[in-house]
Amino acid sequence: MLESNPDNGSNGGGTIEADVVIVGAGPVGLFAVFELGLLDVKAHLIDILDKVGGQCAELYPEKPIYDIPGIPIVTGQQLTDQLMEQIKPFGPTFHLGERVDSLQREGDHFRLVTDQGTAFKAKVVVVAAGGGSFTPKRPPLEGIESFEGKSVFYSVRKMAEFMDKDVLIVGGGDSALDWTLNLQPVAKSVTLLHRRDDFRGAPHSVEKMRQLVADGKMRLIIGQVTQLHGSEGWLEAATVKTKEGEERIGVTAMLPFFGLTMKLGPIADWGLNLNENLIPVDTEKFETSEPGIFAVGDINHYPGKLKLILSGFHEAALMAQKAHQYVYPGKKVLFQYTTSSSNLQKKLGVK
């Protein structure tokens, strides 16, 4: 849908300098770009997902929302698309598929580093992290943690690593099917395990997979994994429950695909005050316990807080006023309407 700006050197080694870095590109992070943009403050957004829109795009793209003021009905994806359209004039830079791991104050600015090693130097940080980072669900199998990273993976970085592996892929959606088809020619063997003989994934992928099974090139098991066996992180076998009973199959790698869930993640280590995984803020500026770090949307907490998109939009507008002061110290903000201010209309590209 969108690409990060290549001349911004998102992975180019050096530190990226920014007025504002927004952690999280959910609806509230996106709208923050607009409110900041009206005040001439430019933003970089970082999200662990490979797309923008947060919960709206990931959890309910097709479902209708009825309580966005002035829009009687809009789906999660439509709202995301329209927010993208609305903020386009402000040229935000997106860094998708990256998780912000650390945030530190360094003199008069902040330093943020992602899991991909991208570093930012920002005057202001806006945490719009919603319910936290979208993270793959971990099947509640005993001892699974000890295998993670060595023989249990939630994503594939290098296919070659599976060359000599007997791979068990679990799930019935596109991720499970795509990796089955991609790894089948590479891995020593591939077994796909799904709880029912019906797949949510794209029909042509299902067809290809069934052909491979018919040709004896891979195995499909209808059932569920109940136990993992192995030692020191190296998987040797998995117990699988099927209609016929239990079976122990020899596998040396497992890829479970059970969707994503939101986990607070690294935010817990940023030295911010936390209250039950939420960041307390004031209701004038939506600033955290650390001056210059703001929190808007689902991630923040204050008396009377409602986790609604419309509340997040309001918070973003007030936050922008104070953020402006950090970016342009001493400069006064003139209160203006988009309807009547030719200055604002120029910024929006409508004049």
């Binding site: 959890l59 099947p139 709880r195």
Partner: protein, 106 residues
């Protein structure tokens, strides 16, 4: 109106009263039944409201619709009697319903 019994993995149980029209998930949340997380608030988008319907009640609660079946793929230890409790509406016919809460919702 229906009385619904939620049985926990340790065997303990809790009976709650639910108005017609609410969902079994909502009844559980209103009465703080442990083990029903319902992260998505009933939108059939999270599978963290998974329950096992007692054998005697399976016919009355019916079978999952396609979207619910798809979502059940994201639940753990799914069985024949698995349902997402946010997709079961309470009616008089469900008075006495018994459901089991799974050991883990993921």
């Amino acid at each position: 109106m229906a009385k619904i019994t939620f049985i926990q993995p340790d065997g303990s149980s809790q009976v709650v009263e639910a108005q017609n029209g609410v969902t079994v998930m909502e009844a559980a949340k209103l009465h703080e039944v442990p083990g029903i997380e319902a992260e998505c608030g009933g939108a059939c988008a999270c599978a963290t409201c998974h329950v096992y319907v007692d054998e005697a009640w399976r016919e009355k609660t019916g079978t999952p619709a396609d979207v619910e079946e798809d979502m059940l793929d994201f639940a753990f230890d799914v069985r024949e009697e698995s349902r997402l409790s946010c997709q079961i509406k309470v009616t008089d016919a469900l008075d006495g319903l018994v459901v089991r809460v799974p050991a883990k919702q993921f």
